[in-house]
Symmetry: C2
Subunit: 520 residues, 2 copies
């Protein structure tokens, strides 16, 4: 058995049975070995950013890692931006990168580069496999490292000669530790703080593992029992939300709004997230968004048993069994007339299917969607965790592979869509059930807003031109059809409802271009 | 004057007046400053790989750097693959990367990452600007570092607060050293080796700066005077070729063929390139392609005055003024019938305009093109220097910005085209005179070949599936039109000639999809 065969068998033995790939010559033994191990599903992406983003989406949905298979340093580099997002999402990913044969590396062949330097910024674990004898152990350790709380990108570099040489038998799974329980004393301390505070002077800020129904119910009980405000981190990896699930307002992207959300807080309790900071720096504005005089208390870090800690806290506050407010099923009516961010959001709210998975990279065009979908049937919502645009379509692709029985709805800004549009082809090839909405406002609208916020001069003609996506206008209908995905354009609310309704009713990939005016 | 304004003014003062960009919030002051400095042309790419590849193409054509402007670590990462190619091409590039404000970096905001670790593998020079006071000097040094022989990627990281704070006045250009002259003793030594050898037992291998007409004439004289074989490196940045220019055969991509090309050589003289090594490692095959018993002599490194050294060598061998063979103007006739790699090459040979710039990433579909174009009017040819696919369209884009009076012909493989197809939009926006041919063979054909070469099992159904680009078939006509580029599909030689002829006759971007069978 050669290294590649033992690698794939070990992955499968460790529960990794999907590989998102764009391989090259140094990875051909891995590709050849796919025929020996039918349990491994290989999904081709036409660009590495699709593969890494899909692995992120798969990890978010299943809580277990998919593998990637990338080609040397440049192939890895193409996938780094979405690995950055995966790192911020704490998604488990086994990032397999092929390399030149060990003895070939000193020759500085054209594709030689410093893979370690490129990988380390996004990796929680890094190793270059030294031999076929050790390879199965390396693979099992990589899987365990990726899956260990809080989850991360484990990069395993596999030189070509390690792939093609005789290898040890496949290894079995390593033990993956459960999230560490939070000490009772910590829970007691936080309970004391919240129990003694005045109503409204404390904020419970949740994130990460707390963003499922169980965590949100516990957090809502804590907030209800103590009169605290309940808020969530700005960009969680996945949130469970909709009718019947305690709602949680997310911290705003704009620091000015976070200031209002946290105004007057004297205690900030963190559960599964970190202390809020400004997304960017702005002249004269603080980076740290914790109000002056507010004390920060860590109930549970993202690698700990956050939901258990929230449950224990609710218990300690005597709120364990209290019922919490849960929103009723309530959809906005289908709007008519002009199509803009608001009417488009109402259409989404009217039509979002139960159990849907939403990949949200709508950016400025999406500001009304959370409100319009708050009362729709329960669903899961993924956000842009690391700020590296081009995440939405790939993450939707991986989520669809992970959840073949759910409808995936990808909400995309036009500028972000153009980063990794190749994901549409993978959706078509694999017959994935993803409906994509591209908000075509013809501009990097968020930057038009930021141009003012950073205190730059208002922006003359030449500056604005750099932020505009037209002329020429992008035709997303043509682009999608060019990759085998049926597509339609909507310019009114009625058209949007018609096209989106049809796309959601059928199984398989589809795209609707929603022509909307820019918000800024 | 703020840092961004002084930065741009310094760039312009140092001769850098084009910036290929995809900016974000941390770069907004740079964008705003574009209105203050009309001498700086900003060219927007919809993905960073377009911007970095375009800067490479601009550098190859002009010999002077363009700037990039990229957004933090993820934006840089998206551009790294084409910076890798630029590094291998020794292209001068001033790679400007925005960063969070210095005081904001410790807060680990979502977009925070280790920019230095991502940049170093592709950079010949790296600095993060510490203050507005020092910034103009940093910029001038970066330009000089990029332009110093042999040329490279100088990465200057500009934190947002350095951009927006008061800065020193713009700096003037630093002195850029000329390529170092090769010592007379070295020339003499090589002359002795070549002068005393038997005909045919020496190979003169040229590359880098020797690949223009002057260098090739000198090299041809040397070869002619000594009976040596003249060969060129496999993937030069730019070659001047065509009727009237001494032709030079390039070392093959396949090590097996290089073995034949170098067979029997006892002396290998290097001028502007390095000793040949195998592109990839293969089981049981050597990495070093220098034949056993062959002595390697370095006439001139890529950072030295290679053409001067070749001239001096020709002089020392008494071949200074001898006329060399120059190919006559000779085009293949327009073929008819089926369209395949061979007939498509003949069409290119029949129609290639004088003075054209060719960006060649046709890969397996392009094997007959060099032969078919050898006698066409003089033109320049750029190759995939670093092996990171997705170079062709961006490099063509930058070359067109650099050479508005030349027709740029981009020869693209379908798999490679899908990496950075967004370049078409930039070509449309800027009205660039680029004709793109996409060879649609529906497969990663080079990998289908490599699957066998690496000694992997023949490749079963599942392995082959990973190397196929259909189903669904990619429709490049739709994809191009979706980005504002007129496009046509050709399935016969006549159709290809018709569409290509029309595209070449008009000014502005166009694309022809040439449907060809895969070579492997």
């Amino acid at each position: 058995m050669n290294g590649a065969q033992s690698l794939i068998r070990t992955l499968v033995a460790c529960g990794v049975d999907v590989c998102f790939t764009n391989p090259g010559t140094s990875e051909m033994h891995f590709v050849a070995a796919l025929d020996d191990v039918p349990q491994m599903r290989a999904v081709l992406g036409l660009f590495e950013g699709v593969a890494t983003g899909a692995a992120d989406g798969f990890g978010r949905m299943t809580g277990r890692p998919a593998a990637t298979l990338l080609h040397l340093g440049p192939g890895l580099a193409n996938g780094v931006a979405n690995l950055h997002n995966a790192r911020r999402a704490h998604s488990p990913v086994v990032n397999v990168v092929g390399d030149h044969a060990t003895y070939h590396q000193p020759y500085d062949a054209p594709l030689q580069s410093d893979i370690a330097s490129l990988a380390r910024p996004v990796s929680c674990w890094y190793r270059s496999a030294a031999s076929g004898r050790r390879l199965p152990e390396d693979v099992a350790e990589a899987v365990a490292a990726a899956a260990s709380p809080p989850g991360g990108v484990a990069t395993l570099v596999v030189p070509a000669d390690v792939s093609w040489s005789e290898a040890a038998a496949p290894a079995g799974p390593r033990r993956v530790p459960a999230p560490a329980p939070v000490p009772a004393a910590t829970v007691e301390q936080v309970a004391t703080v919240l129990g003694h505070g005045g109503a409204g002077d404390a904020v419970v800020l949740v994130g990460g593992p707390a963003m499922n129904e169980k965590g949100l119910v516990a957090a809502a009980r804590v907030a209800q029992a103590t009169g605290s405000r309940l808020l969530a981190e700005t960009f969680p990896a996945v949130v469970e939300r909709g009718a019947g699930i305690p709602p949680v307002e997310r911290l705003a992207y704009l620091a000015e709004l976070v200031e209002l959300q946290l105004h007057g807080a004297r205690h900030l309790v963190l559960a599964g997230t970190t202390s809020p900071v400004s997304f960017f720096a702005y002249p004269g504005k603080p980076s740290d968004l914790v109000p002056q005089g507010c004390e920060v208390h860590v109930l549970a870090g993202v690698d700990e048993d956050v939901v258990g800690a929230l449950d224990a806290l609710a218990e300690a506050l005597g709120a364990g069994g209290a019922p919490v407010a849960r929103p009723r099923l309530e959809r906005p009516p289908l709007p008519s007339g002009s199509l803009d961010a608001q009417s488009a959001a109402a259409v989404i709210g009217a039509l979002l299917p139960e159990g849907a998975v939403v990949s949200d990279e709508a950016n400025t065009a999406g500001i009304f969607i959370p409100g319009a979908t708050a009362g729709t049937p329960p669903h899961r919502w993924m956000t842009l965790t690391g700020g590296a645009i081009g995440q939405g379509l790939p993450v939707a692709t991986g989520a669809a592979v992970a959840c073949p029985d759910r409808k995936v709805l990808c909400l995309e800004a036009d500028g972000s869509a153009m980063y990794t549009l190749q994901a549409l082809w993978t959706q078509a090839r694999e017959g994935l059930d993803v409906t994509t909405v591209v908000y075509a406002n013809g501009s990097y609208a968020v930057l038009a807003m930021e141009l003012g916020r950073v205190g730059a001069t208002p922006g003359g003609r030449r500056a604005r031109h750099v932020l505009e996506l037209a002329p020429p206008p992008l035709d997303f209908v043509a682009l999608a059809r060019g990759m085998g995905v049926p597509a339609w354009r909507a310019t009114t609310a009625e058209e949007f409802a018609g096209h989106l309704g049809r796309a959601l009713a059928e199984v398989g990939p589809a795209l609707v271009e929603a022509v909307v005016p820019p918000a800024f």
